[in-house]
């Protein structure tokens, strides 16, 4: 009769398998001298094969009683075959024992149990690969579901008839070198088939084995030196070295043989990305999303709040209340004018946009938190690459939609110096939260029921970026191939309320703080300039310092449609903070209410002049804070001036083309308009189409 031992971890289904294989023909007793149960039975289908159910063990290290029993039996008794029952759902733990059994050199079959549970987990084990890697017969089964017991039985019969032989698992070269030297010391004392096992046990400083071998003092010294050297090399204790080596081997087997079917299935994020980042659908979806964002925040929901704040809070309640208080305190007339018209009027006109700003931040916060904004960078990279740009440059631009300062600083992540300098120049083309007030003012005043205006400002910025990229990449200063762009797309998830709240609160708080500081100071200055002349006498606006300064530069903006002193000083004040454009216009027009302000603007400028004003302020030199940051990042005055010159030049060109073309299209034009329009369009065409690409010239020269 042949004896087959079932070995394996506890809870690997060993006993279930034993029961299925032996049926009722089993004998239960105790292992000699201990209370641990010993179960032995005959195979149902072949009574010549006896099956022994060894106590469950995790390793052959002799710590627990069960481990000592199992190890003793496995190493000292004559077994025809060992069936190592592994829990397929905990393969890493099970294979540790398998490796130790392989080290013994005993005839072994690996039974991968609990296949039914593994299938439920969506995983598979490549049995043939595992057989190849271990050079062992491997059988997949489920003892609980009685699946493939016949296969195991057949393999057991074959194993008994022709015991499988296999190479030992080979570990780290340094460990193998130490084991080889220890084996040399032990040869003669241990059977060749067991040399590997004993070498490992001696290396691990196994006390039982050391007692068993009775090594001479010379052997002990040599072996100690070998172990000490290995410990020094690995910077670890000998038993840890072996444990780690085994687990490394197990990890290799796992990575080669265990397949997670979920890896090949598309997650929900992947399925959404198939549409959202699709070659054809990505841009239209992006355009639709941004249109919706601006429509909700600037045109509809946000407008309700803004109208209320402008008409009621800063239109009547606060001015009326403050006016009464000031009059009751007999405050001087000029001081009342400063407070009511200058500070409340100016700052109030900016704070009036807080509802729209908050709504916009809410929408952008949702897009960012759910993971969509990361896809935009990926989508833009595809487009950017066509024009020798990199999607990496788009990340700072995304940040700039909050504020240009961190956007400019984010260019530090761009390795290519040329691309970095170019990105610094272009990043402020994206409308920041300050420019939103200008967008909201122009779209609300000149295009009250047209939802395309606000999102068009966003796309105008992007167009300026792409167009500038195409042009600048053709110049020697910035020519070069685009940088590769790799980014991890986070999985989509429902936006988290806490994150959104923080996003909206922090940005809105910043907006209000800015209004209470920089805008407040600007309004004080603008009020004085608009109410005093060069002799510091209080005068009407038409004789004020402000008008004189504005009139000096106004002719420059005449071709853009807003060549009057009010718009000019608004542009200049915008250099301090873009919100100042709104506050300055309000002060310059001297309106008492939001409605009269809107009427005054409509009377002074045409809608297209208003749009040209918007385009100019969107693209021209940014605020002082951003300019300061540009200077810090460039580290050079010339580069900063170059960037400011380019930005302002492009802003002028864009506004010029928009306004002049509109005049031509509406039929109210002169030869001057045609010349301006042709000049502007020609410049754009030259920059985008006709200008020679210096990077191509270089490539041709090399060839």
């Amino acid at each position: 009769m042949s004896l087959i031992a079932l070995a394996g971890n506890q809870n690997s289904g060993k006993t279930t398998l034993f029961n299925e294989l032996t049926g009722s023909s089993q004998y239960v007793g105790n292992w000699p001298g201990v209370t641990v149960e010993k179960k032995i039975g005959r195979l149902k289908v072949n009574k010549q094969l006896a099956i022994l159910d060894l106590p469950g063990i995790y390793s052959l290290s002799p710590y627990t009683l069960e481990e000592r029993i199992s190890r003793k039996y496995l190493l000292e008794e004559t077994l025809d075959l060992i069936v190592d029952v592994a829990d397929s759902t905990n393969l890493e733990r099970s294979l540790y024992l398998t490796l130790q059994l392989l080290e013994t050199g005993l005839p072994l079959v690996l039974a991968l149990n609990m296949q039914d549970l593994l299938k439920k987990q969506g995983r598979k084990i490549n049995r043939k690969k595992m057989e190849y890697m271990l050079s062992l017969p491997v059988v997949s089964l489920s003892a609980a579901k009685k699946e493939n017991l016949a296969g195991l039985t057949k393999t057991m019969e074959q194993g008994v008839a022709d015991p499988p032989s296999y190479p030992y698992p080979e570990y780290d070269d340094r460990l193998e070198s130490a084991l080889s030297m220890i084996s040399t010391q032990l040869s003669g004392q241990v059977a060749p088939s067991k040399l590997r096992y004993y070498a490992l046990k001696v290396f691990e400083r196994d006390e039982k084995v050391q007692k068993e071998l009775q090594l001479s003092s010379h052997q002990q010294k040599e072996i100690s030196e070998i172990i000490a050297t290995a410990e020094q090399l690995f910077d670890d204790s000998s038993d840890s070295i072996v444990v780690n080596a085994r687990y490394d081997y197990v990890a290799q087997i796992m990575s080669m043989c265990v397949v997670d079917e979920n890896d090949f299935q598309m997650s929900a994020s992947d399925q959404i990305d198939r549409i959202v980042t699709n070659k054809w659908l990505a841009l239209p979806i992006f355009a639709l999303v941004m249109w919706l964002v601006y429509y909700v925040s600037i045109q509809t929901v946000g407008t309700m709040g803004t109208d209320w704040v402008n008409d009621n809070l800063f239109g009547q309640w606060i001015p009326n209340a403050v006016s009464q208080v000031l009059q009751s305190w007999h405050v001087a007339g000029w001081m009342q004018g400063l407070i009511i018209d200058g500070i409340i009027g100016g700052v109030g006109s900016v704070l009036g946009f807080v509802p729209q700003i908050m709504m916009l931040f809410l929408c952008l916060g949702i897009l960012e938190d759910c993971g969509y904004m990361a896809r935009i960078a990926f989508v833009m990279d595809r487009i950017f690459h066509r024009f020798n740009l990199s999607g990496k440059s788009f990340i700072p631009m995304l940040i700039s939609t909050g504020c240009g300062v961190p956007g400019i600083m984010a260019t530090r992540t761009i390795e290519s110096e040329k691309d970095r300098k170019m990105t610094i120049m272009l990043t402020t083309f994206m409308p920041c939260s300050a420019k939103l007030t200008v967008i909201a003012l122009i779209s609300g005043t000149f295009f009250p029921h047209q939802s395309w205006v606000a999102p068009s400002a966003y796309f105008l910025g992007m167009l300026a970026v792409v167009g500038s990229g195409i042009f600048l990449k053709k110049t020697q200063m910035f020519a070069g191939p685009p940088q590769p762009f790799v980014m991890e797309l986070p999985a989509y998830h429902l936006p988290r309320a806490r994150n959104i709240f923080h996003y909206v609160w922090s940005r809105s708080k910043r907006f209000v703080q800015k209004a209470g500081t920089i805008i407040f100071a600007s309004c004080v200055v603008i009020w004085f300039l608009s109410n005093f002349n060069w002799k510091l006498q209080m005068v009407s606006q038409n004789q004020s310092l402000l008008k004189d300064v504005g009139n000096l530069l106004a002719p420059v903006f005449a071709p853009l449609g807003f060549g009057d002193w009010r718009a000019t000083v608004a542009v200049l004040a915008g250099l301090v903070a873009k919100e100042n454009c709104v506050g300055t216009l309000r002060l310059a027009f001297g309106s008492n209410s939001a409605q009269s302000f809107a009427q005054a603007l409509n009377a002074a400028y045409t809608p297209m002049a208003g749009y040209a004003f918007l385009a100019f302020n969107l693209l021209c030199a940014p605020c002082f804070a951003a300019i300061g940051t540009m200077y810090k990042e460039y580290g050079d005055k010339m580069w900063t001036l170059r960037a400011l010159g380019y930005q302002t030049g492009l802003a002028y060109l864009t506004a010029l083309c928009l306004y002049q073309c509109w005049l031509i299209l509406t039929g109210s034009f002169s030869w001057g308009n045609i010349l301006f329009a042709l000049g502007g369009i020609s410049l754009i065409a030259y920059g985008l189409v006709f200008k020679k690409d210096h990077s191509l010239e270089k490539k041709q020269a090399v060839v």
């Binding site: 305190w329 001081m335 940040i399 909050g402 300062v405 600083m409 923080h502 922090s506 910043r510 703080q513």
Partner: protein, 55 residues
């Protein structure tokens, strides 16, 4: 008159403070509150805090 002077001191004092802090004083940072303007590093810190407290 007194009210005018007091208001004047308050308003021009505030004006001077803003001009000094925003344009004259050279701070280490460009924004006094990076988190507020969407600095991604500050945002990452905030995300860490949120996940520690929220999870």
């Amino acid at each position: 008159m007194a009210a005018t002077i007091i208001l004047g001191i308050f308003i021009f004092g505030a004006f001077a403070w803003v001009v000094y802090h925003k344009f004259i004083k050279h701070d280490a940072s460009d924004c006094h509150s990076c988190e507020d303007v969407g600095c991604p590093l500050a945002h990452a810190k905030m995300e860490q805090k949120t996940s520690r407290h929220g999870s």
